[in-house]
């Protein structure tokens, strides 16, 4: 596997996993302010 292809695959797979992961983190973060609302 060439370096360029390997880098491409690494970027695609990082985005593929990273975007939904960050969405999951965001979903957790938006719940936290309710802790301080009462």
């Amino acid at each position: 596997m060439s370096d360029r292809r390997g880098t491409f695959l690494a970027i695609v797979s990082s985005l593929w996993v990273g975007v939904p992961f960050l969405y999951g983190v965001y979903q957790l973060l938006v719940k936290v302010p309710a802790l301080f609302g009462n």
Partner: protein, 349 residues
């Protein structure tokens, strides 16, 4: 039903274990100077899988329906997508060459990176006291974390029942659970990475010793201060995640690289045991106290006291851990990267 038990339970469970251990041991070999950071990232990623899978599976069931046909389609779609992801992992993940060393600027790293221990096979490792001491350390550390995580929402409602409305209280409890999940997740990277500089043994002293003190704070302070309660729970849950994120690097310090993945697999029986022990302790005692008509933080006083005791026992076990001496027979299979017994003794602090 048998297909669910065999496919999702047995085969899926085996796959989960393989998927958990393989990247952890591989990453440690790519980052021999920072094994704690490497395992922290890998194990945070494992926890992050729940962040993706949970909302995604719920969404799929909304699309396909929650009836028999919809659930079957949901499983099918998830299976196909997981197969694609795992195949991509096969393409990307590689073991480094035996003599490989990272071409990093070492000045940025710890000045005295901790050497790997003398190589041991899994069968040799489980015959050492170090393995079983570490088993107790991991089991009780995880038990203490699950004690809160398992019952987080009811604990919050019992500690701080006052709210503008029942809806606000439910939202606040959900916020508490979310906050603990984040602490659990980031604790895996932060504390495990810190172990590369501070030493594995020292970090477990903090997880266990400070963890016991923080549980005492929960018992004594009760609901006197909400910020204090939240801060204590955040740190406790970060130690929970850190405990099993740091343990592969601890194993590598003790037993070398030779079969660290297999040894890690055997050690994870401690996690399984804790998965039963933690909820049983907290739920059984809390349910008993509720039946006795006790309200508020007092419902958890005894559960938390037991957690303090377990953490102190684990602290003593951690103190008793020593790097095993390399047997003569094993020395022949040690590769050139393996440190000598003398240097590895310095490695486990």
């Amino acid at each position: 039903m048998w297909l669910i038990i065999l496919g999702y339970g047995v085969i899926g469970g085996i796959g989960l274990g393989i998927g958990y251990i393989s990247p952890v041991s591989t990453l440690m070999k790519w980052f021999p100077d920072r094994p704690g950071m490497a395992t922290g990232f890998a194990i945070m990623g494992f926890g992050g899988g729940a962040l993706i899978a949970s909302p995604w599976s719920s969404q799929l069931m909304k699309w396909f329906g929650a009836d028999r046909h919809g659930l079957a389609t949901t499983f099918l779609v998830m299976g196909v997508v997981y197969a694609v992801f795992m195949t991509m992992g096969i393409v990307l993940v590689r073991l480094p060459a035996p003599q490989w060393e990272p071409p990093v600027v070492r000045s940025a790293g710890p000045k005295t990176p901790h050497a790997a221990g003398p190589d041991r096979t899994a069968n040799e490792a489980i015959k050492t006291p170090q393995f079983w001491l570490l088993w107790v350390v991991l089991c009780f550390n995880v038990t203490a974390g699950i004690g809160i995580l398992e019952r987080a929402a009811p604990i919050y409602r019992d500690y701080f029942p006052r709210a503008a409305s029942p809806t606000a209280l439910t939202a606040a409890a959900a916020g508490f659970v979310a906050m603990l999940s984040l602490a659990n997740s980031w604790g895996r990277i932060i504390w495990s990475s810190a172990s590369d500089a501070a030493g594995r043994k020292n970090m477990y002293r903090v997880y266990l010793g400070l963890g016991a003190l923080l549980y005492l704070v929960l018992i004594v302070a009760q609901n006197a201060s909400k910020p204090l309660f939240l801060a204590v729970c955040i740190v406790l849950l970060s130690f929970y995640g850190a405990g099993f994120a740091t343990v592969p690097a601890y194993l590598r310090d003790l037993f070398g690289y030779l079969e660290v993945g297999a040894i890690h697999g055997r050690l994870l029986t401690a996690w399984s045991t804790a998965g039963v022990l933690g909820p049983v302790i907290v739920n059984a005692i809390a349910d008993n106290r509720i039946a006795a008509g006790i309200v508020g933080p007092d419902r958890y006083r005894w559960s938390f006291a037991i957690m303090v005791a377990l953490l102190l026992i684990a602290l003593v076990c951690n103190e008793l851990i020593r790097t095993p001496r390399p047997p003569n027979s094993v020395a022949t299979v040690s590769d050139t990267r393996t440190a000598t017994a003398a240097t590895s003794r310095e490695g486990v602090r």
